[in-house]
């Protein structure tokens, strides 16, 4: 054996370092132990965070990836370790989050024998990954990792899983790493067609009531500047999807609000009044479109999109502009006229005023006794930094936090959009914070969701990640309860929770904690929390049976968005 030979496990770690991974999230076990052994030698070059559950590890990697724009990395053992990653993979797949997940696997001679902790992870994870592979030979480790990072980050990003047998980890091989720069079956760069830009510009220049919808594609394509420049010049009103929030400062004059089931009144309703609809890096999720048969039928649709499979998938478009929206938006900005649409803009304003009077003011400045979720977010806005990151879980608090948080910077929004994974927020906030301890990371979470991954308080304790956890406690699986109230005759079937003393739990983890039940204490508590040096847990007891509005009920059209 040559001196230059190293163990497969060392190759794994050195490959990660070669890909500039700085931090990985994981949980050890038998089949991945050689890699953990190797990590011991490289801990000054590659930081490992031990979460309390593999689901926590992958959500943390997602949070890290979403705020950093880098590939999130997590590792787990075979069998149960690997299956615990599946929810996170599905979440990352549907929300296009770049991840490389490495799982240990039983030794190759045991494959297919139902060996201890053997699971067909490649098979199970196939529909939930952009790409996956099983590596059985030491010499294939580095190329697989190189290819994995390339695939995860390029094109439309997504999760990759690399399953490495134990013998590949313990055998010796040469290490000479070469990054993957592309391969023939995978096209990442699609040059924008001039003719498509011309057709799109023609429609836009003729339009009386053009309207732009932007999604996470703008963030993933790093096209925030190009979006702003396009809007500055064209004067077109623009609305955001859930994951698009942050791509454009909400202070921008063309910004008219949010789309979707619990988005704003005007942006939803006026979708059916525009004459040209420009969709940028968004995929017409059913939570955005409502009833498709009555969605923007009057409009000519222009779709700026990187993924060819998204074109005409849900909404048929007049002009498809394939390619990165960074390229297409800047070409389109050159081709459109300087314009303004004062009458059209005024319509948005008029409806916004209605929403403000009937929904927003009562949410933010309530006159009733009970605290609202909205006023909590409103107070956070008063004290947060411009680049504060908001991580939310799933439910009413998610929609309220999204509606009222004042997004100003890119990559400040971390939430589980496409999958709606309860339990996402706490570990994702930890991951987001691990990227940068100096940033404010506010984790808004419900009393239901926090209990799905509450064990990650232990990871926050151990890493001292200064996450600010805001638990909006309504003692209910609130979002489900709202549906029960509205659509199931108020039959509250298994949605009320008997909750533990959350503050005691946080304190047991050595995390400073406070509980607010009175309006008078809220402001100071939020101030205390945001200036606190270290993790903080703030429980706010809110009104039990508040509902989130506006709302487009299932099966309804965007123009049937209700204010109450």
């Amino acid at each position: 054996m040559k001196d230059s030979m190293i163990r497969g496990a060392d190759i794994v770690v050195r490959s990660l370092i070669a890909e500039n991974a700085e931090i990985i999230f994981g949980y050890p076990g038998g089949a991945i132990m050689p890699v953990y052994d190797a990590l011991h030698d490289y801990h000054d070059q590659l930081r490992h965070v031990l979460t309390r559950h593999e689901q926590g590890a992958i959500h943390a990697a997602q949070g890290y990836a979403r705020v950093s724009g880098k590939v999130g990395v997590c590792i787990a053992t075979s069998g149960p370790g690997a299956t615990n990653l599946i929810t996170g993979l599905a979440d990352a797949q549907i929300d296009s989050t770049p991840l490389v997940c490495i799982t240990g696997q039983v030794a190759s001679h045991l494959l297919g024998t139902d060996a201890f902790q053997e699971t067909d992870v490649v098979g199970i994870s196939m529909p939930a990954t952009k790409w996956n592979i099983q590596v059985r030979r030491v010499e294939d480790i580095a190329p697989a990792i190189a290819k994995g990072f390339y695939i995860a980050k390029s094109g439309r990003p997504g999760p990759v899983l690399i399953d490495i047998t134990k013998d590949a980890q313990t055998n010796f091989g040469e290490f000479n790493y070469s990054k993957c720069l592309g391969f023939r079956s995978y096209r990442t760069h699609i040059p924008v067609e001039k003719s498509a830009i011309q057709e799109a510009a023609f429609l836009i220049n003729m339009a009386k009531r053009p309207y732009l919808l932007f999604g996470q594609g703008v963030v993933l394509g790093e096209a925030e500047e190009e979006l702003k420049a396009f809007l500055d010049k064209s004067g077109i009103p623009a609305a955001s999807t859930l994951l698009g929030s942050g791509a454009l400062s909400e202070d921008h004059p063309n910004y008219v609000g949010k789309l979707g089931m619990h988005g704003n009144y005007a942006p939803n309703l006026l979708t059916n009044q525009c004459d040209v609809l420009i969709a940028v890096g968004m995929r017409f999720d059913d939570r955005v479109t409502g009833d498709l048969k009555r969605y923007a039928k009057q409009a000519k649709v222009i779709h700026l999109e990187l993924d060819p499979a998204e074109i005409n998938k849900i909404v048929k478009c007049e002009v498809a502009v394939l390619g990165s929206c960074k390229d297409s938006l800047s070409l389109l900005a050159d081709a459109v006229n300087v314009n303004a649409y004062p009458d059209w803009m005024a319509k948005f304003q008029e409806l916004a005023d209605q929403e403000n009077a009937t929904v927003i003011q009562p949410d933010l400045k309530p006159t009733k006794a009970g605290l609202t979720m909205g006023e909590v977010i409103h107070q956070i806005n008063q004290y947060k930094a411009d680049d504060a990151i908001l991580v939310t879980d799933v439910g009413q608090h998610q929609m309220i936090a999204w509606r009222y948080f004042n997004y100003k910077k890119p990559r400040t929004q971390v939430t589980s959009g496409g999958l709606g994974t309860m339990g996402f927020a706490l570990p994702a906030a930890l991951g987001a914070q691990m990227y940068d301890f100096s940033r404010q990371v506010v984790c808004v979470v419900g009393d239901g969701g926090i209990q799905m991954t509450i064990q990650e308080l232990g990871t926050i304790m151990q890493t001292k990640a200064p996450v600010k956890i805001v638990l909006l406690n309504n003692n209910f699986l609130g979002m489900v309860r709202q549906w029960q109230q509205m659509f199931f005759d108020k039959r509250y079937s298994f949605t009320e929770l008997d909750n533990p003393d959350f503050v005691k739990i946080a304190e047991a983890y050595n995390i400073q904690a406070q509980k607010v039940t009175e309006r008078g204490d809220l402001q100071e508590a939020i101030e205390d929390m945001l200036i606190h040096d270290g993790p903080y847990f703030l429980e706010v007891v809110v009104e039990k049976e508040d509902n989130v509005f506006p709302m487009i009920a299932t099966g309804c059209s965007v123009e049937e968005v209700r204010l109450s």
């Binding site: 098979g123 196939m126 529909p127 099983q134 023939r184 993924d307 060819p308 499979a309 005409n312 998938k313």
Partner: protein, 166 residues
């Protein structure tokens, strides 16, 4: 609903067939037939999938297939624009071989490709309608076993694999 042939040109990567078929199962679409083989170029495989669906659906399927990392190219054709064949084998007991059957074999251009003491095996190559027609007839002759391949097909269009593999 119409019959379409989907062609997939792909790297020979373990699991690729799985990745392709879950695209169909996820949408509850039945694959009528599927064949996989090597292509003219080393390391590159071609998969031919026959499916009955609307054109809109087929376009979605093809887009999703092409999105698979190791797929080089996917496209689809209507029956009219492909040249295709299927092969069918029929196992008949020797006791039923008589003049009538001989005539049928001749009429359908089938071949006897194996003769055993107890049975003979007939082969017919053609379109499904043809092999199906013979099947219906042979059911009356004590047919013991029947097997039909998926479609092997080439497109009529003058495009070669090489143009996708760059």
């Amino acid at each position: 609903m119409k019959r379409y042939t989907i062609f997939v040109i792909t790297e020979n990567f373990i699991g690729i067939l799985n990745r392709i078929t879950i695209i169909f199962t996820r949408r509850g679409i039945n694959i009528d037939a599927l064949t996989a083989s090597e292509s003219r170029l080393e390391g590159i495989h071609r998969i031919t999938i026959e499916v009955t669906a609307s054109e809109d659906t087929v376009i979605q399927l093809v887009n999703q297939i092409e999105k698979i990392i190791d797929v080089i190219k996917a496209f689809y054709h209507e029956d009219e624009s492909v040249v295709y064949q299927e092969i069918a084998l029929y196992k008949i007991p020797v006791s039923r071989l008589d003049g009538g059957l001989e005539k049928i074999i001749r009429q359908h251009n089938a071949k006897i490709i194996a003769a055993e003491p107890d049975f003979v095996v007939l082969e017919l190559t053609g379109h499904k309608e043809q092999t199906q027609e013979l099947l219906e007839i042979l059911k009356g002759y004590g047919l013991l076993e029947f097997a039909r391949s998926g479609r092997v097909a080439v497109a009529k269009r003058m495009l070669t694999i090489d143009s996708f593999v760059k």
